[in-house]
Symmetry: C2
Subunit: 281 residues, 2 copies
């Protein structure tokens, strides 16, 4: 496995693979890897592609009040995990990927205003900008993202479509702990009490999904969601939203299915989770 620090070296390697007739898949991460990330690598590998994992804690997707400095950095361990998995290259730039006078931004309007965008107004601008930069450097055929960051995946998919990126997006399912908690690099910040209480997220989503499958209406689902969350012992709710799965906008019924998405703070950790509801006939 090649561990690469320089953008030019990564691009040269990717072009070499393409000349050899290989496809190239990119898995962008911020490191602190867990089984969720590793599942994305496996998806990339099933495409028969050379796999590049990028590890870069992107400062522009954090607001000044957020946890950029505290974000976990575990590069050696990350590289060992990826090497064991048979990843072809890791791109882990040591230097800032933004020049001091960087002034270019890629923005996706509409999809970025609700959900996480409401409390993190510049977050998605940072995400789309760094992903576009990484796509220009690595020039992959495929890019893989996780469904846990559902809004992010939709925003990046829209960016790729609107901007004619020659890249196919794959979105891997959420990987969960045994008790249902969605895996996240931020879970390590949870106190034992918060860790136990954080189960409310997945438990609520699974219960909503069960109700929807049993025929609950949108209004019934909303009422149930509110009641379930009101019942929680700990955790500060950021949002609980039932939205259109494609537009992330308001819905009137479940005829086109729904996204149920939650964000909650436990101490310094802001956790998100979501589930997709199938369209109801």
């Amino acid at each position: 496995m090649r561990v690469i620090d320089a953008a030019a070296e990564l691009r040269a390697l990717s072009r070499e693979w393409r000349r050899e007739g290989r496809r190239v898949a990119l898995v962008p991460t911020m490191g602190a890897l867990h089984e969720g990330h590793l599942s994305l690598v496996r998806i990339a590998q099933t495409e028969g592609a050379r796999v590049i994992v990028t590890i870069y804690v992107n400062p522009t997707q954090f607001s000044p009040s957020e946890d950029l400095a505290a974000y976990p950095r575990t590069l050696d361990r990350d590289c060992a995990l990826l090497n064991d998995l048979g990843v072809d290259a890791v791109f882990a730039p040591k230097r800032d990927m933004y020049l001091p006078d960087h002034t270019t931004w890629v923005t996706v309007d509409g999809l970025t205003t609700g959900l996480c965008g409401a409390s993190r107004p510049t977050h998605f601008r940072g995400v789309t900008t760094i992903v576009a930069k990484l796509l220009h450097i690595a020039e992959p055929d495929i890019a893989v993202f996780g469904q846990k960051d559902y809004q992010q995946a939709r925003v990046i998919e829209r960016m790729m479509r609107d901007m004619d990126f020659p890249v196919v997006i794959r979105v891997g399912p959420i990987v969960r702990e045994a008790d249902g908690l969605a895996m996240s690099s931020r879970n390590r910040f949870l106190s034992p009490e918060d860790r136990a209480a954080a189960r409310v997220l997945s438990r609520t989503l699974f219960a909503c999904s069960d109700r929807a499958r049993a025929g609950a209406s949108l209004a019934e689902l909303c009422a149930f969601l509110d009641a379930s969350l009101a019942d929680r012992a700990r955790g500060e709710l950021d949002y609980a939203v039932i939205a259109h799965p494609a537009t992330l906008g308001e819905i009137r019924d479940l005829s086109e299915g729904a996204l149920i998405a939650l964000a909650m703070r436990f101490g310094s950790a802001r956790l998100i989770d979501n589930i997709l509801i199938e369209p109801q006939k």
Copy 2:
């Protein structure tokens, strides 16, 4: 010469050329070609590259009050000129290059606020967005722009740098009519009286350049520029700016050289022109 309407076909052709070891150069235009555009094609050809000229009147760089509908469209004549020149492919999409729910924008802050950006606040967002789309479709090694649109060239250069586009930019010099008027697709809209009066733009710039070479200070240059423009018979001044050639910001002296840029309206035609002043010791 191939005339291509579909993005996928252009990308396939460009990749074929790259596989054959050829470099690819892109010359983005809005058509209504004149000798200025053709000079950019020749620059692309001197790079030994396959040359793609794009012809697309990009709606997002016009404001609702501007001349999108009236912008000249002369595709058959354009293609004949490019064919005579030995261009390899023309990309002239017949359909809108933006889907109805397009919401992604590439913006370059700072460089876009002054000069043309002051009176055309969404113009450069449209330019950078369409150029990024064209770069993703054509995947060139080189992209060629004209110095007449000096601010545009700087903005695109910055976008390419900030976003790690694997593309080198070339900027071709301004091509002028015999009397000095910078060539522009909008010159055809000038009445005979305005056409004669429009000479004030290049005449003023050349005179400023002469004064600077003779040792005039920035203050003297500013005074001379104001006096020269006050003298004009016709034409509504949009701006007359002496700015830093790289940052387009304010300068205190000519030690790092200067850009002198003018924009003036004659009837429905808004004309721009500029000249670079060498650094003074």
